[in-house]
């Protein structure tokens, strides 16, 4: 790689190095220079609040994840509306296009709604369906 193709990326590399240097530097320095005073209270898991009970690796219901994922999915899909809305007036001005831009977005929303319908009918949004945890398809 004889040419200087990568030269423009040099600042990024430097920034990376500096960031990494500062981060590790701070930890290393505090480890070396810092004072350590241990006390009973300090050695507890939390200095304030409840004493922890049980295992921290608690199993969450799969529904939490499902809802979280669905949220992200619909969120991202909805975001696609924004650029469309921004250029909508320009779309109308394209000769011969007519309401083409409008219908395109309606199709898109239709597809999203099909997904929504599917999720709904499958009972994912219903928090209390017992079969979901078991799986409907056995």
């Amino acid at each position: 790689m004889a040419d200087n193709q990568l030269a423009p990326y040099l600042p990024i590399l430097m920034q990376l190095l500096i960031a990494a240097g500062i981060g590790t530097g701070m930890i290393v320095l505090s480890a070396i220079l810092g004072q350590r005073k241990y006390s009973r209270m300090k050695m507890q898991a939390y200095e304030c609040g409840m004493t922890p009970t049980g295992d921290a690796q608690h199993r969450f219901s799969v529904k939490f994840y499902l809802v979280a994922m669905l949220f992200i999915l619909f969120d991202v899909e909805a975001i696609f509306l924004i650029p469309w809305a921004v250029v909508y007036r320009d779309l109308l001005k394209i000769p011969g296009a007519g309401l083409f831009g409008f219908w395109e977005m309606m199709v898109y929303i239709g597809i999203v709604l099909v997904g929504f319908f599917y999720v709904w009918k499958k009972g994912v949004l219903d928090w209390n369906t017992p079969e979901l945890s078991e799986g409907p398809n056995e």
Binding site: M1, A2, D3, Q5, F100, I111, V114, G115, F117, Y118, K121, K122, E131, G135, P136, N137, E138
Partner: protein, 484 residues
């Protein structure tokens, strides 16, 4: 610029598949929980037929050309691969209908996912934009990830799905990175624009890195050495009809992508990437065949065999020229026919819970179910490459193209490999015909849908072996379209 209506014609098969896929997603939740999902399967089958019709329409009417601002191109190449992947999907659906019943899986989405995955596979052969290609790749991959885990109660299936998903994402990341870099190097993500940029301008070192990264991603998808390691595990765990689909459909599509990228965009650098293909082909053939020698599980054996076949296909890549590309295209079609067929037999035979997947379970099949045994024999003979089956001609073209391009050693390695390969395919035939059967292996009569799938696959395998002229001629047209 075409009128809007004509533009839609160029993605007509995809549109039809999408509509049917969504229809299934809507209808499935409305069905009673305990109802059989077979109607959904038939609906999906009708969808593939309609899409096939649409593809033929494309082939016979003047819709050829680019559409959507050069995003997709309809030509002989794309039409050929559309037919291949849609037929694969149709056969996979047919062999799934009774399989799902046997396994007690009641799910219509299964069929929806096959259809939507086929959309991605189809687009992989017609898209002309790297970004579009990436999306198509993801569509086809993600549906396959899910399908691989469909035997939810079986740990092996879940494992298969997870492995495929994690490693697949890892590999597509490579591909995406390559796309980004090539955009940086040439300022475009359009296949033809990249090719022109490479032709006219100075080729920067970023280009090479981009090519290499994309090669990693594509190599993973087609499962060639050294990116093949996932194949045996994933194929072993996934439901058999899904393996029928994913060992052929996404693979064929990924080969289309590879042809598109390597010859369409990076044709300029062919001398540079040729050794890569050469080494990868030789390794894949050898590792695939030697690995398959030792397997006792039919699915696993066929997995290794599919690695070997990907290697043969790469030989055609290395041969290059019209003839090599045509040979590669023809090989994908043939391989699809015989492998889908073989897995259709495996799916039926496996029985509830896929109990019977060991080679020894096939003992005595020759007498207990002559029809099943004969069809499986046809597929095995074709995989070996015996004349009058498609497998023979596919290999014949590949190797004669290779020799034409002076790839003497690669040809010899390939031929030695296909001699070794005879051993393990033959083993299955020997077991079927020449071993006493064990009556504890229950055998269900072949249902109509499976029988149809077997008949079509066997018919195609023989057809490609006896009358390869027409298909090969179209493959050659596709090759010329690709190089244009």
């Amino acid at each position: 610029m075409m009128t809007n209506e004509l533009q839609y014609l160029s993605i007509l098969p995809e549109l039809i598949l999408t509509i049917f896929g969504m229809l299934i997603m809507v209808l499935d939740p409305l069905m009673a929980d305990r109802a059989s999902r077979k109607p959904m399967g038939w609906l999906a089958f009708v969808g593939t037929l309609a899409a096939l019709g649409a593809t033929f329409y494309q082939g016979t009417h003047p819709v050829a050309g680019t559409a959507f601002f050069g995003m997709v191109r309809t030509d002989a190449f794309s039409i050929f691969f559309h037919v291949v992947v849609i037929v694969i999907a149709a056969l996979a659906i047919l062999s799934s209908l009774d399989y799902l019943e046997t396994q007690g899986i009641r799910s219509g989405e299964y069929y929806g996912l096959i259809l939507l995955g086929t959309v991605g596979m189809g687009l992989l052969s017609s898209a002309m934009e790297l970004v579009m290609l990436f999306i198509a790749l993801e569509i086809s991959s993600i549906s396959t990830y899910i399908l691989a885990g469909y035997r939810r109660r079986v740990a092996a299936s879940a494992e298969s799905s997870i492995k495929y998903f994690l490693l697949g994402s890892f590999a597509t990341a490579f591909f995406l990175y390559g796309v980004a870099l090539i955009y940086g190097a040439t300022g475009s993500t359009n296949i033809t624009a990249i090719s022109q940029a490479l032709h006219n301008n100075h080729i920067s070192s970023l280009t090479y890195l981009a090519l290499v990264l994309m090669f990693v991603g594509m190599g993973f998808k087609v499962a060639v050495t050294p990116f093949h390691v996932w194949t045996p595990d994933v194929y072993e765990g996934a439901p058999a009809p899904v393996v029928a689909l994913m060992s052929t459909g996404p693979k064929a599509a990924a080969f289309a992508l590879m042809l598109r990228v390597l010859f369409g965009s990076f044709g300029e650098l062919s001398q540079w990437w040729l050794p890569l293909i050469w080494i990868s082909a030789a390794l894949s053939m050898t590792i695939g065949n030697v690995g398959a020698l030792l397997q006792n599980n039919v699915k696993r054996m066929l997995a290794y065999s599919s690695i070997a076949h990907a290697g043969y296909l790469l030989v055609a890549f290395a041969a290059g020229q019209d003839m090599g590309i045509a040979a590669a295209i023809f090989y994908t079609a043939t391989y699809a026919a015989m492998n889908v067929g073989a897995f259709a037999v495996v799916s039926h035979f496996a029985s509830r819970g896929e109990r019977y997947v060991s080679i020894d379970d096939y003992a005595g099949l020759g007498r207990r179910s002559p029809v099943l045994a004969i069809t499986l024999t046809i597929f095995m003979l074709s995989l070996i490459g015996i004349p009058l089956t498609g497998g023979f001609f596919a290999k014949f073209y590949v190797f004669s193209a290779a020799l034409k391009s002076n790839l003497v050693w690669l040809t010899i390695i390939g031929l030695v490999n296909s001699a070794i390969a005879a051993y393990y395919y033959l083993r299955l035939i020997v077991v079927m015909y020449m071993k006493e059967g064990d009556d504890s292996v229950t055998l269900v009569p072949v249902p109509v849908a499976t029988a149809a799938a077997l008949l079509i696959a066997a018919g195609l395998t023989i057809y490609l072996g006896v009358m390869p002229g027409g298909v090969l001629g179209y493959a050659l047209l596709g090759a010329q379209d690709l190089m244009r």
